[in-house]
Symmetry: C2
Subunit: 334 residues, 2 copies
């Protein structure tokens, strides 16, 4: 079938509309008419070939929301007319220990929506329906896209780090990911402390529900927070002052990275040892985790703060994301 | 009361017998007539003032086994004649969240047996009976000392990293700690792989129960092990090739340090991220964990391989420990 898509013809180029050919496989593929698509920094990394793995022409977009128009024979959980979301992952082997355990996101054969195909900056997304999620009615379409990537990234990180309510949760970085982490951690019954380098974002974090917001400069605090955290989630895309934050963890506490720093961590073992602390990193979430995340977002009204742009102004939106001027997530509307 | 103790008068000196004065507090202290005392590298670090915290005259020894001769009024779980063990820790506040949670080993006010008093290279140890453990009958006195420090260090690390049986457990370093880790992991129903730099120790690890023993040079393998580990316990006192071992972890696997490397770790986040792996460190164990460890050592016959020396030959034994020539733990016999 023919679709219309916003394509990058080469690295670091602007996007323009082209007509593309895509062929549903008849078995598992679904055709989703795109109504909304969020923009993530990974889209820009792929457009710019920052990871050296981009193929052109490239169609970005992996926070996709739309309406199912066709379903392959083997798809039983979706039907034409359903409103669905589609996130970072488009495929996995579905047979390995990770997949069988509900951790398709850890599968060695994991395929990314925009690393292994055309993404959602398009009229339609044609992709494996087993990675499309019916959206609960209470989640607006404009909110759902960012939940499918930024949302599951922080929710999966917090859950995998052991968040279960009644804990004190720190969030480093109040951006597209961090603001959703604050909202989820608060909604799920935790005391939340936001760590940011900006006074404005500290205020915003409190508006979002943080009990405390602490301004720091590279891990140095004017007034260090008084109480240790059970979990600290780092959503910062750059390196953080790891040791400073390790020292803010309670016994058996976990520092979980969902933003990957730009250089290797240097970690002093002694502060880990004395309080039996942990460091981990977590990538998005499996299908079961995504389903739980959507349920909780619906149940507790967790939604990203977004700026919307018409699809034809994608370049303008991308430029604002690139220069960190979006508050807090950009969404293209078809 | 007067005791006879082997004392180091100053840093890096030999030990000699002296008479010392110690006064049981009447409430919680017990008087233990020492029959055996293991030797740990920490004893040497304290004798040599490697950590800059030693006070002289210093009496080493924190793998103490003996017979209770007196008990303070407030001690109810021990009586005169009981055979007990006493390990690294001699005190904690017993009121903080860590202590109340059974993690006295994480207490901010934790006191070490030889960092905050006289140790067990002596005729008697006078110390808080709440940190003395009745020894199950099946554990020989010559084995119990090393269990109380080396044993709980590896058992606590494995348990805190999530060991529950039916897993694949790697052990880095086959020495005083590592050989007990292999024995515990095997006894508790796991598939065990030993990582060592020595062909001899590889053979020994298999004799101890390891299903596989892999010789490596700084994390480089002739034949890398085929299957990933759920937990890898690093007992090496020096730095290890952290990234090489992180890559041997399964999804959600944990690399747990119980030997503290001599310099900060440098950790690449990406291998942690793709498989949601964790890094942690663990110090000894709380009283509940020690009790479980002794129960399991008794139940499954886990015992250290020891070389014994009469107490008067402590210097000779210390020299052998210092130069890594002990196979695998030295024990002084009174």
């Amino acid at each position: 079938m023919k679709i219309r898509a916003l394509t990058a013809p080469s690295a670091r180029s602007g996007l323009s509309f082209s007509e593309m050919d895509v062929n549903p496989d008849g078995e598992h593929d679904v055709v989703i008419r795109v109504t909304h698509c969020g923009i993530c920094h990974s889209d820009i990394h792929m457009i710019d070939n920052d990871w050296g793995m981009s193929n052109y022409p490239l169609v970005p977009g992996h926070e996709v929301v739309g309406i199912v128009e066709e379903t392959g024979r083997a798809i039983t959980h979706l039907r034409s007319g359903d409103r669905v979301g589609f996130g970072w992952q488009r495929g996995a082997c579905l047979q390995c220990a990770d997949c069988l355990g509900g951790n398709e996101n850890l599968c060695d054969a994991s395929q990314g929506t925009i690393t292994h195909g055309y993404g959602g900056f398009a009229s339609h997304l044609v992709a494996d329906g087993r990675f499309a999620f019916p959206l609960p009615e209470g989640i607006p379409s404009v909110s759902a896209g960012p939940l499918l990537c930024a949302g599951i990234t922080v929710y999966g990180g917090l859950r995998s780090a052991g968040m279960r309510g009644g804990q004190r949760i720190g969030v480093i970085g109040i951006g597209g990911l961090g603001h959703l982490a604050v909202a989820f951690a608060r909604a799920l019954g935790n005391e939340v402390v936001a760590f940011t380098t900006s006074e404005d974002k500290a205020k915003f974090a409190v508006d979002l529900g943080a009990h405390e917001a602490v301004v720091h400069r590279d891990g140095e605090f004017d007034r260090p927070p008084g109480k240790p955290c059970d979990i600290i989630l780092s959503t910062a895309p750059a390196s953080i002052a790891t040791s400073a934050f390790v020292n803010l963890l309670a016994s058996d506490g976990t520092l979980c990275f969902v933003g990957v720093p730009d250089k290797p961590l240097s970690i002093d073992l002694f502060p880990l040892l004395v309080k039996r602390r942990r460091i981990m990193a977590s990538p998005i979430g499996g299908r079961s985790m995504i389903t739980s995340m959507l349920r909780d977002a619906d149940r507790f009204g967790v939604a990203p703060v977004v700026e919307t742009f018409p699809m034809c102004k994608a370049d303008e939106a991308l430029e604002k994301v690139r220069s960190n001027r979006i508050r807090y997530r950009a969404v293209l509307v078809a």
